[in-house]
C-alpha cells in the first residue's frame, strides 16, 4: 500500500480527516477528486495552513498537512508550536523531502534541523520511517493518536519487511557485541548494507531502526550501548539536536556514558546533487559507513541506488 492509498482509505473511512497542502501535491495527486471539500490547498502559505489546520482541529477534525520539510518545520515553526503545540491539537504533519531526500534542491530545501526543532515542542510526537513499508505501518497509529505529530515522510520502496509498529518503540533488528548502528529514515537502507559489510569482516553487528524519535525508545538505546563496544548514530540531520543528542540525553539521564560515534552533518549543509551522488559525496553510503567504522577500505561493491523521481 502506498502513502496516498493509505491516506485516501483513512480519510474515506473517517470523515474527521481533512487533507491539506501548501501546494505540495506530489503525495496527494489523486486525493482532491476523492475527498472533494475535505481536500484543502492553501497555496504557498505554510503558516496560514498550520493556523487553519488548528482551526479545523478545534472543530473536531484531524488535518493531515503536507509541505516541504524545511518550510514546514522552519517557516511555520512558530505556528506549529503555538497553534498546534500549546493547545495539543491533533495536527498531523507530513513533512516531504526531509534530510538527504531534498537531493538536488540546495541548502534552502535541506531540512537538517527539523527533528531538533520538532522534538523541542511540548506535546509534539516525531517519527522517521525507514521506507514506505515502515511509513504505512506507523501512520495508522500516528494519525489516531490525540497529539500533534511530525513525520519525516519517506516513500522509498525497499525489499525490507518491517516489524509491526509499536508506539514509542524502536525496531530492534539486532544487537551486536562489537557495534550497533542506530539510525532512522532513508539511511536505514544504507545501514543494512553497512551491517552486511561489517559482518563479512567478522564483526558482531547490530542494527536498530529508531523510527519513533519522540517518544523515544530509551530501553533500546540503553541495551545497545550496554551490549555493544561501539554505538553508531547515523542520521541525515545536523549532529546537534538529532539522534546523537537524543542518545546523549538518554545516557545522561540514566547516569551512563558509552562509546558513541556520530555520523551526521556536523555544522554544515550537504552538496546538492541526485540522491545517490549525495550519499557518495558525503560519505553516507553503506560501504563508506562500514569502512569508517572499520578504519580501512574493503572490496565490497556498493549496490546501485534508484534515483528518486522529482516530486514537489
Amino acid at each position: 500500500m502506498t502513502y496516498e492509498e493509505l491516506l485516501t482509505e483513512t480519510a474515506l473511512n473517517d470523515d474527521r480527516f481533512i487533507v491539506m497542502t501548501a501546494e505540495n501535491r506530489a503525495l496527494v495527486r489523486n486525493i482532491p477528486a476523492k475527498l472533494g471539500n475535505r481536500f484543502i490547498d492553501t497555496g504557498i502559505t505554510e503558516q496560514t495552513m498550520i493556523g487553519a489546520a488548528a482551526g479545523l482541529a478545534l472543530r473536531g477534525r484531524i488535518p493531515v498537512v503536507h509541505a516541504l520539510a524545511s518550510f514546514l518545520s522552519m517557516r511555520a515553526f512558530e505556528f506549529i508550536r503555538t497553534d498546534a503545540g500549546i493547545p495539543k491539537l491533533p495536527v498531523k504533519l507530513s513533512s516531504f523531502i526531509p534530510g538527504f531526500l531534498s537531493d538536488g534542491n540546495g541548502p534552502t530545501h535541506q531540512a537538517l534541523e527539523d527533528i531538533a526543532l520538532m522534538c523541542g515542542i511540548p506535546n509534539m510526537t516525531v517519527f522517521a520511517p525507514a521506507d514506505e513499508d515502515d511509513l504505512v505501518k506507523m501512520l495508522p497509529q500516528v494519525w489516531k493518536h490525540p497529539n500533534p505529530s511530525y513525520v519525516r515522510i519517506n516513500t522509498r520502496k525497499t525489499d525490507y519487511a518491517h516489524a509491526p509498529f509499536e508506539w514509542g518503540k524502536a525496531e530492534v533488528v539486532s544487537i551486536g557485541e562489537d557495534v550497533t548502528i542506530l539510525t532512522y529514515g532513508l539511511l536505514f537502507e544504507q545501514a543494512l548494507i553497512a551491517a552486511e559489510v561489517l559482518k563479512s569482516e567478522g564483526l558482531s553487528v547490530g542494527l536498530i531502526n529508531m523510527r519513533s524519535l519522540k517518544p523515544v525508545d530509551e530501553r533500546a538505546i540503553l541495551e545497545a550501548t550496554r551490549e555493544s563496544r561501539l554505538t553508531i548514530t547515523l542520521e541525515d540531520h545536523f549532529q546537534t539536536g538529532g539522534l546523537y543528542s537524543i542518545v546523549a540525553t538518554v545516557l545522561l539521564k540514566h547516569g551512563l556514558t558509552a562509546n558513541v560515534l556520530p555520523i551526521a552533518l556536523n555544522e554544515r549543509w550537504f552538496k546538492p546533487s541526485l540522491l545517490p551522488n549525495v550519499l557518495q559525496h558525503e560519505g553516507f553510503t553503506g560501504k563508506q559507513v562500514a569502512e569508517r567504522i572499520l578504519g580501512y577500505k574493503t572490496f565490497f561493491t556498493q549496490p546501485k541506488m534508484a534515483v528518486p523521481e522529482f516530486s514537489e
Binding site: N37, G55, P87
Partner: protein
C-alpha cells in the same frame, strides 16, 4: 437600533471600561488598546454573536477570535458584564491562582483560542470558517485584529486564502486605533488606504466609527456584505477611548497606574475631570 438598546450598550461599555482601568494597576495591562476595542467587543457579544454561558460548546455557536490579544481586559470585562465570568475574578488579574493575564487563554470559558503572537488567529479563524462551510453550517466567525498587527505578513496571507475559499461567513474586524506599540501607524508602517488594500485582496469592506453602536449595528447586520466574499470591518477607534488624559498618546500603550491614579481615572471616565499622571506609569515593551 432603539435608543434604549444604545443606552444599554453604552452603560455596559462604561462598566467594561471601569474593569479595564481597575486591571491597569498592580502590574498593569495594555490599557490603550483595551479601551479602543471595548465598544466593539461589547457590541459583538451583546448584539451580534449567538454566544452565551449556556452554549460555549455548541458547534452551532458563533466564534470570536481575539487576534490582537493584548486587549483582553476589554474581553474579560465584557464577559464579566454579560455573565460569562464572575466579576470577582477580574481582581485576580496576574494572580497565580487564576488564569487572567495579559493575553487570552482557553482556561477562561468563552475564549476560543489563545493569542499573543500577532498574525496567528486570522488563519485559525479561517480553519473554523472552512469547517463550518464544509458542514453547511450558518454560524459566523469574527476575528478581531489590531491595525499594528497588520504589519504581520500572515494577516495578508490569510486575506488571500479567505478570498480563495470565499469565506463569507468570516469577518475580519480591524481595531483601527491608529497606533501600534510605540507610535502612530502612519509614522512607522503606513496602512492607508486600508479600505482599498482589503478591497484589492477581494474582500467586501465597510469602514465605520468603532465607537458608534448604531454604525456597528448597521455594518454587522449587513453580513455577509457580498455573497462569496470575506467581510472586513475597519472600525476607526481612539486608543485610550474614554480617558482624555491618555487618548491618542503614543506613550500610553502599556500602563501600570498607581492606586490614586486609578481612582482619578475612574472619575475621569465619568467626565468629572482629567487626571494629571505624574507617577512612572509608562512601560514600553
Amino acid at each position: 437600533m432603539h435608543q434604549t438598546q444604545i443606552n444599554r450598550l453604552e452603560a455596559t461599555a462604561l462598566n467594561v471600561r471601569e474593569h479595564i482601568i481597575k486591571m491597569s494597576t498592580d502590574g498593569g495591562c495594555f490599557v490603550g488598546a483595551s479601551l479602543s476595542a471595548a465598544d466593539l467587543i461589547v457590541y459583538l457579544y451583546s448584539e451580534f454573536l449567538n454566544v452565551n454561558a449556556g452554549n460555549l460548546n455548541d458547534p452551532n455557536r458563533d466564534y470570536l477570535f481575539l487576534s490582537k490579544g493584548h486587549d483582553v481586559p476589554a474581553l474579560y470585562g465584557t464577559f464579566a458584564e454579560l455573565g460569562l465570568l464572575e466579576k470577582e475574578r477580574l481582581q485576580n488579574h496576574l494572580s497565580l491562582n487564576d488564569n487572567i493575564y495579559w493575553h487570552p487563554n482557553t482556561k477562561i470559558p468563552g475564549i476560543e483560542f489563545h493569542s499573543g503572537s500577532l498574525g496567528h488567529l486570522p488563519s485559525v479563524a479561517i480553519g473554523v470558517a472552512m469547517d463550518i462551510k464544509i458542514r453547511g453550517g450558518s454560524n459566523r466567525v469574527v476575528c478581531i485584529m489590531g491595525d499594528g498587527e497588520l504589519n504581520e505578513g500572515t494577516c495578508w496571507e490569510a486575506a488571500l486564502v479567505a478570498n480563495a475559499y470565499k469565506l463569507d461567513n468570516l469577518i475580519f474586524v480591524i481595531d483601527r486605533n491608529h497606533f501600534q506599540a510605540n507610535m502612530a501607524t502612519e509614522d512607522l508602517i503606513p496602512l492607508e488606504p486600508l479600505h482599498d488594500k482589503f478591497t484589492a485582496f477581494g474582500a467586501a469592506v465597510k469602514r465605520i466609527n468603532g465607537h458608534d453602536f448604531e454604525a456597528l449595528h448597521e455594518a454587522f447586520s449587513a453580513c455577509p456584505f457580498e455573497a462569496g466574499k470575506v467581510n472586513v470591518v475597519i472600525a476607526d477607534t481612539v486608543r485610550g477611548k474614554g480617558l482624555p488624559s491618555i487618548e491618542r498618546r503614543a506613550d500610553r500603550w502599556f500602563c501600570n497606574f498607581n492606586a490614586e491614579e486609578v481612582d482619578s481615572l475612574l472619575k475621569e471616565l465619568h467626565g468629572e475631570h482629567t487626571t494629571q499622571l505624574t507617577s512612572e506609569t509608562l512601560v514600553v515593551r
